[in-house]
């Protein structure tokens, strides 16, 4: 246990996140979470079956300052107490990112607090420090969300993150959304499939595991593919309906979810073993999935690997994860970002922060 004075000397950082449909503002001190304010526009997107960028951007602008105020109130701090402001610079929806980046820059100029433009994906990894403390390095990150499915090698969270593999088509979260639609479940699909699957039979039907055949394992050892799985589910449902039979929603949800979780965990464990790494960090919105957590835990234990993940609320997009990464960067002595950095909708997964870029 650290003493109080050591704790107080740890950096207090505010994180701003607007890459998709959540306006998130989090505040941390070191690895201690002080506030996690989120305003979501998810309900406004539900009827469109996906996030509408312009609707999200409008909601970000409206929610930005009030969410910052709410986070400061929750943390019982003022802007003058901050040692850093971190903001998601990318990847994400361009117009949505710009609201957060614009706000962060303005807060930084108005207060003189140093600014850090950071990578949303590294932030998904960093958020685990808020619950489980500093990350042992190296670690393997399994990042699964609506936009990304990647296996990352985290040698140094402050600057050296490399991608070992990623989805070559749909992200896992996207597949959840699409299959949910096929099954008549609402958007976003992840939580609904998870719930339905709990009542279903995982072995009801065996859906394909993408990129696991021997020759694929040579070329795409740590890569994923979920578009074939989605098509297989669609065909199966179609065939069933053509025979005039009901589709067992819970069973299909369970079998689909099993196929996704099987491949994700199998490849992450393989990556850890083959790189001699004994820690796997699970992050991203899909990391809230209960089956993914259970299966990953079982397989990690068998392999003698430590599995870490934060609680579900911290897995989905939020400002706390950005603050967590910012705090890590400040503590590591990484230089702040220049004030003219862009919002980069396709920011490279291996760029942790724009701190060292001129």
């Amino acid at each position: 246990m650290k003493n109080d004075s050591a704790r107080l000397s740890e950096p207090v950082v505010m994180g701003i996140e607007t890459s998709c449909d959540e306006t998130g503002v989090g505040i941390v001190r070191g690895t201690e979470l002080l506030a996690d304010a989120v305003a979501s526009s998810v309900d406004e997107h539900a009827r469109f079956g996906g996030v509408v960028p312009e609707v999200a951007s409008r909601a970000h602008l409206e929610a930005m300052v009030p969410t910052v105020q709410r986070a400061l109130d929750d943390a019982d701090l003022t802007l003058a107490d901050l040692d850093g402001i971190a903001v998601t610079a990318g990847p994400g929806l361009a117009g949505a990112l710009m609201v957060g980046v614009g706000a962060a820059k303005a807060y930084s100029i108005a207060t003189g607090v140093p600014l850090y433009g950071v990578n949303h994906l590294s932030a998904h990894i960093a958020v685990d420090t808020l619950e489980n403390g500093p990350i042992p390095e190296p670690a393997i990150g399994l990042l699964v969300s609506g936009g990304h499915s990647s296996i990352m090698m985290v040698e140094d969270l402050a600057g050296k993150v490399t991608q070992l593999g990623a989805s070559i088509d749909d992200a896992a979260g996207e597949a959840f959304d699409k299959v949910a639609r096929l099954l008549g479940l609402p958007f976003p699909g992840g939580p609904y499939i998870d719930r339905a699957a709990k009542e279903g039979d995982r072995a009801y039907v065996r859906f394909p595991r993408g990129l696991t055949a021997a020759k694929d394992m040579e070329r795409h050892r740590y890569d994923f593919s979920f578009s074939g799985l989605k098509t297989a589910v669609a065909r199966w449902i179609e065939a069933r309906r053509a025979e005039g039979e009901d589709v067992p929603v819970n069973d299909v949800a369970a079998a689909f979810q099993e196929a996704v979780c099987d491949v994700l965990t199998r490849k992450a464990i393989l990556a850890a073993k083959e790189h001699g790494v004994d820690t796997i960090l699970l992050g991203g919105g899909v990391a809230a999935n209960s089956r993914l957590r259970t299966l990953a835990a079982e397989r990690a234990e068998e392999a003698g690997i430590t599995l870490r993940h934060p609680r579900p609320k911290l897995c989905t997009d939020n400002g706390a994860m950005v603050a967590a990464l910012g705090s890590h960067l400040v503590a590591a002595g990484v230089a702040p970002s220049r004030i003219d950095f862009p919002a980069n909708s396709s920011m490279d997964i291996e760029v942790v922060s724009l701190a060292d870029r001129l």
Binding site: S19, C20, D21, H45, F48, G49, G50, V51, V52, P53, E54, V55, S57, R58, H60, L61, E62, M64, V65, V68, Q69, L79, P91, G92, L93, A94, G95, M98, V99, V101, G102, A103, A104, K105, A106, Y107, S108, I109, A110, T111, G112, H120, S145, G146, G147, H148, D170, A171, G173, E174, D177, P188, G285, D317, I339, D340, F341, P342, A343
Partner: protein, 219 residues
């Protein structure tokens, strides 16, 4: 009173420090660049540049005035969120002014102020000796209502939307693009600034509903 003025409702990224004393306005420092895609990169450095040119710090600014459009949404929002966050960060009030008034407010006679709304449309309003008549509109330049384009309508058109679509407008258009004048925006907000009116929640003049097209991947 030292005022930070911002407008990103057009392809001009603009920031200025304007001194307001009773009814005297003085432009202390000013940055502008025509870059319709550069708002998020350029605006913040421009604010820093304006402060540096004036030998001032953020703590010397007493209020913020922002153009609230109409304008292409993404760029417009950058200026507005910057204004709102700067004001919040500095603990000072922020006030919104219709960006078209920064063009039309400087005109004499009957003028059509128009900015580029993209998608081959313009945002516009008609001004009589600098005073706006009615709410801003969006439409195709060739489809302005009769009261604007017909006899008794506007004598001339001004603004980026006017110069760009001069050939389609039935009103004679100035060929040099004119952008919202930040000093004018501050002047229009002067009654609120001088009376210490409460800070405002800035809401853009969107004039269009969002395209309801979901994005492909989520993050």
């Amino acid at each position: 009173m030292r005022v930070l003025a911002l407008d990103t409702s057009t392809s001009a990224v603009q920031a200025a420090l304007v001194d307001l004393d009773d009814d005297e306005l003085f432009l202390t420092s000013f940055r502008r660049e025509i870059d319709g895609r550069g708002h998020v990169e350029k605006l913040a450095p421009f604010i820093e540049g304006c402060l540096a040119d004036a030998g001032k710090t953020a703590g010397d600014v007493e209020a913020v005035v922002a153009g609230i459009g109409p304008g292409p949404f993404t760029g417009l929002r950058v200026g507005m969120v910057t204004a709102a966050a700067f004001a919040d960060g500095a603990g000072i009030p922020v006030y919104g002014v219709c960006s078209l008034d920064g063009i039309g407010g400087n005109t004499r006679g009957r003028a059509l102020a128009a900015t580029d709304a993209r998608r081959k449309e313009i945002y516009w309003a008609v001004y009589e000796d600098g005073v706006r008549e009615g709410e801003p509109q969006v439409s195709k330049p060739a489809e302005l209502p009769e009261w604007v384009s017909g006899s008794g309508g506007a004598d001339y058109a001004i603004g980026e939307g006017a110069s760009r679509y001069a050939e389609q407008l039935s009103v004679p258009a100035e060929t040099v693009p004119v952008y919202p004048d930040l000093v004018k925006l501050v002047e229009l907000a002067a009654p609120r600034l001088l009376s210490g009116a409460p800070s405002e929640q800035l809401t853009p003049l969107y004039l269009r509903r969002p395209d309801a097209q979901p994005a492909a991947p989520r993050d």
